[in-house]
C-alpha cells in the first residue's frame, strides 16, 4: 500500500483505499454503471446463442422464445444498459481519437457526431433486414 516503501526515513501516514470509494461521487457511480453495461450485453448475446442452440430450425420453438415475457423484460433492461454503453462509447470517441487533417483538428462534435450517424445507418440497415419482408 502507499507509504510502505521507505529509504530509512518516514514516508508518512499510509493511504488505504476505502472499499466504497465509488459511492463518494456521482461520476464514480456512473462509471461503475458504465462498466456493468458489458455484463448485460454479454448476457443478452449468450442467451441469444442459447436460443439458437435450443431452437435451431424450429419455427414454433423460436416463436415461443420470442414471445416469452421473461425475454421481453430482460431485453428491455439490456437495451437500456446497451444504449448507455453506446452513448458513453460514442461520446468518448473524440477523447480516444485525435485527428488533424491540414491546419485544424477535427472538432470533437464532428467525430462523435459521425459515430451517431454510423449508428443510425447501421440500425436502419439491420432494422430493414430484420423487420421487413425484403429478405423474406
Amino acid at each position: 500500500m502507499h507509504g510502505q516503501q521507505s529509504a530509512g526515513r518516514s514516508v508518512g501516514y499510509p493511504w488505504r483505499q476505502p472499499s466504497g470509494w465509488w459511492l463518494k461521487n456521482s461520476h464514480y457511480i456512473m462509471y461503475m454503471i458504465r462498466e456493468l453495461t458489458a455484463v448485460f450485453a454479454a448476457l443478452w448475446v449468450v442467451i441469444f446463442l442459447a436460443q439458437i442452440a435450443m431452437n435451431g430450425r424450429n419455427v414454433a420453438k423460436w416463436s415461443a422464445s420470442l414471445a416469452s415475457p421473461g425475454w421481453l423484460v430482460f431485453s428491455v433492461i439490456a437495451f437500456i444498459f446497451v444504449m448507455y454503453h453506446a452513448w458513453t462509447a460514442f461520446t468518448a470517441t473524440s477523447t480516444l481519437m485525435y485527428m488533424r487533417m491540414g491546419k485544424e483538428p477535427v472538432p470533437a462534435g464532428t467525430i462523435n457526431g459521425s459515430m451517431f450517424v454510423a449508428w443510425l445507418v447501421a440500425t436502419i440497415v439491420i432494422g430493414v433486414i430484420l423487420l421487413t419482408p425484403i429478405f423474406g
Partner: protein, 121 residues
C-alpha cells in the same frame, strides 16, 4: 515492435474496443427487433421466428452465421476485459493471472461454443 513492453494487454484492449463497437453499433437494433418488438406485439412472434429460421437456413446462411459469430463473440471479449478490471475496482486484487485466465478463458469458450452452434444449426 520497435519497443518492448512486458505485457500483451494491447491484444485484449484491441478486442475490447472491437467488442465496444459491435455492442454500441449493432446490438441495440437486435435487442429491439428480437427482444422487445415481438414481446410488445410490434411484430408478431411467428413472423419474426419464421424470418430467423429463414436467415439460418437460406442461401445467405453462411454469411449470416459469420455475422452472428462476430455479433456474439466480440461482446464476450469486451465483457471479459471490462469485467476483469471491474473486479479490480471492487477491491479484488489477489490472483491477477487467475482472474485474467478465467475472464478471457470464458470468452474463448463462449466463442468456440458459438462457432459450434452456428456451424451445426
Amino acid at each position: 515492435m520497435r519497443y518492448k513492453i512486458d505485457t500483451i494487454e494491447p491484444f485484449w484492449w484491441g478486442l475490447f474496443m472491437a467488442g465496444a463497437g459491435v455492442i454500441g453499433m449493432l446490438l441495440p437494433i437486435h435487442i429491439l427487433a428480437q427482444g422487445i418488438m415481438p414481446g410488445v406485439g410490434a411484430v408478431t412472434p411467428d413472423t419474426m421466428a419464421f424470418r430467423i429460421v429463414n436467415f439460418l437456413t437460406g442461401p445467405l446462411a453462411p454469411l449470416i452465421k459469420l455475422y452472428l459469430f462476430v455479433l456474439i463473440s466480440l461482446p464476450l471479449f469486451h465483457w471479459a476485459h471490462r469485467f476483469r478490471y471491474f473486479l479490480f475496482d471492487l477491491g479484488l486484487h489477489g490472483g491477477r493471472m487467475a482472474l485474467a485466465t478465467l475472464c478471457y478463458g470464458a470468452a474463448v469458450v463462449g466463442t468456440i461454443i458459438a462457432a459450434i452452434v452456428l456451424f451445426s444449426v
